[in-house]
């Protein structure tokens, strides 16, 4: 038993081990981000569609589903962040003296700012959870945000989203966060194939394009909601 744990802790202690965990948790988060966006886009299908979707998430497995997902996501985010912070600290320590003249030949700006885009996204996630999940500092938990669906009283997700994004600062922060997420993904998605040892000479260019396309998809899809509401008055 301890031999197994010794080996696993050595794996985590190693540079490649941590990176593999970052890639695996990153992959999980990529899937989540996609699913979350698709769900959110139901807002364009009208109040009933998104409210039903919200209700489904809340009641799956007798209400346990959402908690399993939340714990899973929390673990993924936690490992992703802790490991990257440790890696970043090691990386800084590995190059104590900086060059008098810095230059880079092929690395993208996104790849050089992963830790900053990542930490800003973390700040956004906390705000986002407080805003729409815990719903502090707003009325979203009040009776005004209940509605009836198929004879059941459910949370009015639709109204919450419309009202939430009608407040310009929230939308602007959201859009900024999505742009950073897109930057993060544009390096992260193709990068995870490399770290997991899955890229080949043939597939690497495809993964790279896939990463860029995915990042674009996420930013367009997610930003369409606040922009539609705030700029074009959708649902207001």
């Amino acid at each position: 038993m301890s031999a197994v744990f010794d080996s696993l802790s050595r794996f985590y202690a190693s540079s490649i081990g941590k990176k593999i965990l970052v890639a695996l948790t990153g992959a999980a988060l990529v899937v989540f981000v996609l699913g979350h966006m698709i769900g959110n886009l139901l807002v364009f299908a009208g109040p009933d569609a998104i409210n039903e979707y919200g209700h489904l998430l809340q009641t799956a497995l007798h209400g346990g589903g959402v908690w399993i997902a939340r714990l899973g996501l929390l673990a993924a985010v936690g490992i992703h962040i802790i490991a990257t912070i440790q890696l970043t600290r090691q990386n800084r320590a590995a190059r104590l003296d900086r060059y008098g003249k810095e230059a880079s030949q092929v690395s993208s700006k996104s790849s050089r700012t992963m830790i900053w885009s990542g930490l800003t996204i973390l700040a956004f996630i906390i705000y986002h959870l407080l805003h729409f999940t815990v719903r502090v500092g707003n009325e979203y938990n009040s009776a005004a945000y209940k509605t009836t669906l198929h004879g059941e009283e459910v949370h009015n997700v639709y109204k919450m989203v419309i009202d939430g994004f009608s407040w310009a600062p929230a939308s602007i922060f959201y859009v900024i966060a999505m742009l950073l997420l897109s930057s993060h993904l544009s390096h992260g998605v193709s990068s995870l194939f490399q770290t997991l040892g899955l890229a080949t000479h043939r597939t690497e260019p495809l993964f790279k394009k896939l990463g860029h396309a995915f990042a674009l998809l996420i930013v367009v899809g997610n930003c369409s909601i606040p922009l539609a509401i705030l700029v074009f008055g959708y649902g207001r």
Partner: protein
């Protein structure tokens, strides 16, 4: 042939002491000279003036020994692709240019003097598994080990690494992944290297970590700076080999390994 007047900003440092940039005017440098010959000319003048010449590593001056090691204008071995400092020629620069000349910077490459750094970490990584355990005289006939041409060619691609350390110097994390992966990858991809593959991968990666190199963040500055154009796909392979070796180490016992034919 024309002559160039250049302004050099050269890193000067004595072992264990903080360093600084020294500005040196390099006038009348023939554009046919190599970069190191330019340094020779500069040094000759410094010696004449009674100053301390700039110490730098160099040996074969034909791009194969891996000894030369300057970061020129922020890029290890300078701006020309697939070229070591010793093969870089002054015609790549213009009259009036300012040239920054710095050592290969990394915590794992401590400065010995000026532009000379200690790359002993590379030797220690190789000692941790970068070999096939074969006793002299115990080898079978060379043609009894068949290696397909494609495999042999790929192994040669990895083996072309000259161990100069430009990959470390170019990486913003001072990671040695390109070097280590090329060295491990050469042997891990050949039949001769199979029996020790896992042991080699684990040993070399652990020694790499111990030496204080950073981690790979998949930005591939290493590949761009590599004078032998070693591909980052070797890093992909090492990530894979390491994951498999770690999993086996954690979950597979000796009996199962025996069954697996190892």
């Amino acid at each position: 042939m024309s002559l160039l007047n250049l302004q050099l900003k050269v890193w000067r440092q004595n072992q264990g002491q903080p360093g600084h940039f020294q500005e040196i005017q390099a006038r009348g440098i023939p554009d046919h000279a190599s970069f190191l010959e330019m340094m020779d000319i500069v040094n000759e003048r410094l010696i004449k003036d009674g100053s301390d010449p700039v110490a730098f590593d160099h040996d074969c001056r034909e791009g194969i020994c891996g000894m030369c090691s300057m970061t020129i204008n922020g890029i290890p071995h300078g701006p020309e692709k697939a070229t070591t400092t010793c093969q870089l020629h002054m015609r790549k620069f213009r009259d009036g240019d300012t040239i920054w000349i710095e050592p290969f910077r990394a915590r794992a490459f401590p400065v010995i003097k000026d532009l000379i750094v200690d790359r002993g970490a590379f030797d220690r990584i190789q000692q941790a598994g970068g070999y096939v355990t074969v006793r002299t005289g115990a080898a079978p006939d060379a043609n009894s080990i068949l290696v397909g041409k494609e495999v042999a060619d790929a192994a040669m691609d990895a083996a072309a690494c000259i161990g100069c350390g430009a990959c470390v110097a170019a990486c913003k994390n001072a990671s040695a992944m390109l070097f280590v992966s090329a060295k491990a990858g050469q042997l891990n991809s050949l039949p001769q290297g199979q029996p020790e593959k896992d042991r080699r991968t684990l040993g070399m990666v652990r020694q790499m970590d111990k030496e204080g190199f950073g981690n790979c963040t998949n930005q591939y500055e290493c590949e761009a700076a590599c004078p032998k154009e070693i591909s980052v796909r070797w890093i992909t392979k090492m990530n894979r080999d390491y994951a498999i070796a770690s999993a086996k180490e954690a979950f597979v016992g000796t009996t199962e390994r025996t069954e697996g034919g190892e």
